[in-house]
């Protein structure tokens, strides 16, 4: 079975409008967020959001030739996914024309992008008025994978995974399976999510949102901040890439998933499901934990998640001095369904650079954590090019991918 190669990558987040600029912002601990109040929260609560700004997304599509742009409105989640996908194609040196000659698998994670949140329609319907049907038609045309498939004009297997915060990582893992079993020739995999008032009201109701910039793993962490974005990996069998002498940036070595089987919403205190996911990913990759030099953690900045996650790492048996554990959410916010994709891209770029930079927002790691974290301002020379990007989901799902970089 041919290895799975990462032949392209794309990423858009509050940290940067493309993968490299976003990664640079993470390395330099640049925090670009904006405080919102009643736009996103009930009552007097205010808090930072990591919004993608400074770009007219529509402009990128107008200058991209060959897209099958639909007549109905396209939602923000789809636009973010498309921006990241088009960037991935550029890195892969692959034109739309060439892409359309292949069986293209599309596996994307989302949480906001699958729901009907049009407030005007809902209010009209609730109050007994006849709503303008356009938003309902737009919703029915807005399945994320179906939309990307249609806009790109490609055919092949498609899937939208709605596993909450692990969606993007799971999508990447599912796509790996498709390639290994020859369901497609190339796969577009990752996740996307736009900002949502429903999500912000919801996380606020769970008292998981911080009113200040999030500080993953920090002793004074007070919760998460929401963000938006998309991260996409282009995956192909290594044999195909070698045959066409195309560029590639690393390998997707392994994927593993596990459920906590503990509680419908709260994570297992020892991260039981994450332990299983990481172990399964290492087995799938055919490597031992000593070969891992970087873990891009879920690291949301909530008390419970950060503790459970680091406890899980200790139980798996990683040794603190041999690798760097970081979270990038201090620079991007928690992008929900996009997180797995965004973090896979940033992990790949870090592995290729060979140096991990500390967790944005973590100035003093919580001494209660069971595993050491690389704090902001510190750097760690990676002893290998192999790392893990992992995600813990609402509902007890956990997933991990093993990525190997090619080096600079």
């Amino acid at each position: 079975m041919s290895k799975t190669v990462i032949s392209g990558y794309g990423c858009i987040s509050a940290a940067g409008l493309d993968a490299l600029s976003g990664h640079r912002a993470v390395e330099n601990a640049v925090v670009r967020n904006k405080i919102f109040g009643s736009e996103f929260f009930p009552g007097d609560f205010t808090g930072p959001f990591f919004q993608v700004v400074g770009e007219d997304l529509d402009h990128r599509f107008h200058i991209q030739k060959g897209l099958n742009w639909p007549e109905h409105e396209v939602n923000r989640t789809i636009k973010l996914a498309l921006v990241a996908t088009l960037e991935a194609l550029v890195h892969a040196n692959l034109s739309l024309f060439e892409l359309r000659t292949k069986r293209v698998g599309i596996a994307l994670g989302t949480t906001v992008g699958c729901t009907f949140h049009n407030e005007d329609y809902y209010i009209d319907w609730r109050d007994g008025r006849r709503p303008d049907p356009a938003p309902l038609y737009t919703y029915l045309s807005a399945n994320l994978a179906s939309s990307i498939q249609s806009i790109l004009g490609v055919t092949g297997p498609r899937l939208v995974i709605t596993n909450a915060c692990a969606s993007g990582t799971d999508a990447i893992g599912v796509a790996k399976g498709w390639l290994e079993y020859d369901h497609c020739d190339i796969a577009i995999a990752g996740g996307a999510d736009g900002l949502s008032r429903v999500a912000s009201y919801g996380f606020n109701s769970l008292m998981l949102v911080s009113s200040t910039a999030c500080r993953p793993f920090d002793v004074d962490r007070k919760g998460l901040n929401l963000g938006e974005g998309s991260g996409i990996l282009l995956l192909e069998p290594e044999d195909n890439v070698k045959k066409k002498k195309g560029p590639f940036y690393g390998w997707l070595r392994g994927y593993g998933a596990g459920g906590d089987g503990h509680h419908p919403t709260a994570p297992h205190h020892e991260g039981r499901g994450l332990q299983r996911a990481v172990k399964n990913a290492l087995v799938d990759a055919g490597i031992g934990r000593k070969e891992i030099s970087l873990i891009n953690a879920h690291g949301t900045g909530t008390t419970v998640n950060d503790l459970a996650e680091t406890t899980a790492l200790a139980h798996v048996g990683f040794k603190g001095k041999e690798l760097a554990v970081v979270s990038t959410k201090g620079a991007t916010g928690h992008t929900l369904g996009a997180a797995g994709g965004v973090e896979a891209v940033y992990a790949l770029l870090t592995l290729n650079k060979g140096i991990a930079t500390g967790t944005v927002g973590c100035r003093e790691p919580d001494p209660e954590l069971r595993f050491p974290i690389l704090p902001e301002g510190e750097r760690f020379a990676l002893p290998s090019r192999i790392g893990i990007s992992q995600s813990l989901a609402f509902g007890g799902g956990n997933s991990a991918i093993v990525i190997e970089g090619v080096g600079s």
Binding site: T115, F116, Y122, Q149, E180, R197, V198, A393
Partner: protein, 285 residues
């Protein structure tokens, strides 16, 4: 390696029998979660019963793949109502509005520590779940898994279908153009897939699931409102028999037909499902 269908279950919401042992755990859940958990309970209980009779075929459920077209739509609108009213949202309601909440409940109630996977598509969600579950077993990621499609729709959606009427674009699969759309009934269809060989390498009894092939056709979204699919069943053995054709008009219809096929057919069957949004080809037996 083969994948077999070990057990199946289906129920509408109206008439769902709640096992007493689940009432405490589900006392605050919504219909979507209730349907998913009761279906899982039914299949897990069947499996445990069979395990006790055949210890050599003992197997635990270690994965969940749940597909849905509309997800937790009704609960989502209850959260949206608090948003448009500027009021505090109920944390329980929000938790339940997340699409994978049902898989989370199944995992925690039945202590399933394998992968939970929730997916959504307006077309063929059950069959996409079936394809992923089968692939997970073939790849060794799971030994067995629950496959479910759950739909509870929402009052807004049902009203939208009535209000907006049948799609104006001609649908070659509609038998009666311009007819009123039927009301979709909330419900669940669930299968238990398992590796076809036990720990000793002996075959496990059950119809074999062949490859599930899905071909998607680009379609405009409003076609889903006037839902219609054709299910064609061809018996492998009695090739002279004409194929059976069934027309279904709601998103759970095709998997419900397949449940009947599982119950009634002992010979191998080839199944084709056609809709304006594509086709599914698969085999059982």
């Amino acid at each position: 390696m083969t994948v077999i269908v070990r057990a199946s279950f289906t129920s509408p919401l109206n008439g769902l029998e709640m096992p007493p042992e689940l009432s405490r755990q589900l006392r605050r859940s919504d219909d979507f979660i209730r349907l998913a958990v009761v279906a899982a309970h039914n299949l897990v209980t069947k499996l445990q019963g069979e395990n006790s009779q055949s210890p050599e075929q003992q197997i635990a459920v270690d994965g969940i793949v749940l597909g849905t077209s509309y997800g937790t739509m009704q609960t989502n609108f209850e959260v949206l109502d608090s948003v448009v009213s500027g009021q505090q949202t109920s944390p329980t309601l929000f938790s339940h509005s997340v699409f994978n909440s049902a898989a989370g409940y199944i995992g925690s109630i039945f202590a399933i520590q394998g992968q939970p996977l929730t997916l959504t598509d307006f077309s063929f969600p059950f069959f996409r779940a079936l394809r992923e579950g089968s692939l997970a077993i073939h790849s060794g990621r799971m030994e067995s898994c629950l496959i479910l499609q759950v739909e509870t729709y929402s009052d807004l959606l049902q009203d939208g279908r009535s209000l907006l009427g049948a799609p104006t674009i001609e649908n070659p699969f509609r038998r009666e153009h311009g007819s009123e759309p039927t009301s979709w009934q909330p419900g669940v269809v669930a299968w238990l897939l398992q590796r076809g060989e036990d720990l000793n390498g002996n075959s496990v009894h059950g119809p074999t699931l062949g490859d599930v092939k899905i071909i998607d056709t680009p379609t405009v979204g409003n076609m889903y409102l006037g839902f219609e699919e054709k299910v064609t069943i061809k018996t492998s053995v009695k090739k002279a028999m004409p194929p059976e054709e069934h027309w279904v008009s709601d998103p759970l219809g095709s998997p419900q037909i397949l449940n009947t096929v599982l119950a009634e057919k002992s010979d191998g069957v080839a199944i084709e499902i056609e809709g304006p949004w594509g086709t599914v080809e698969m085999s059982l037996g």
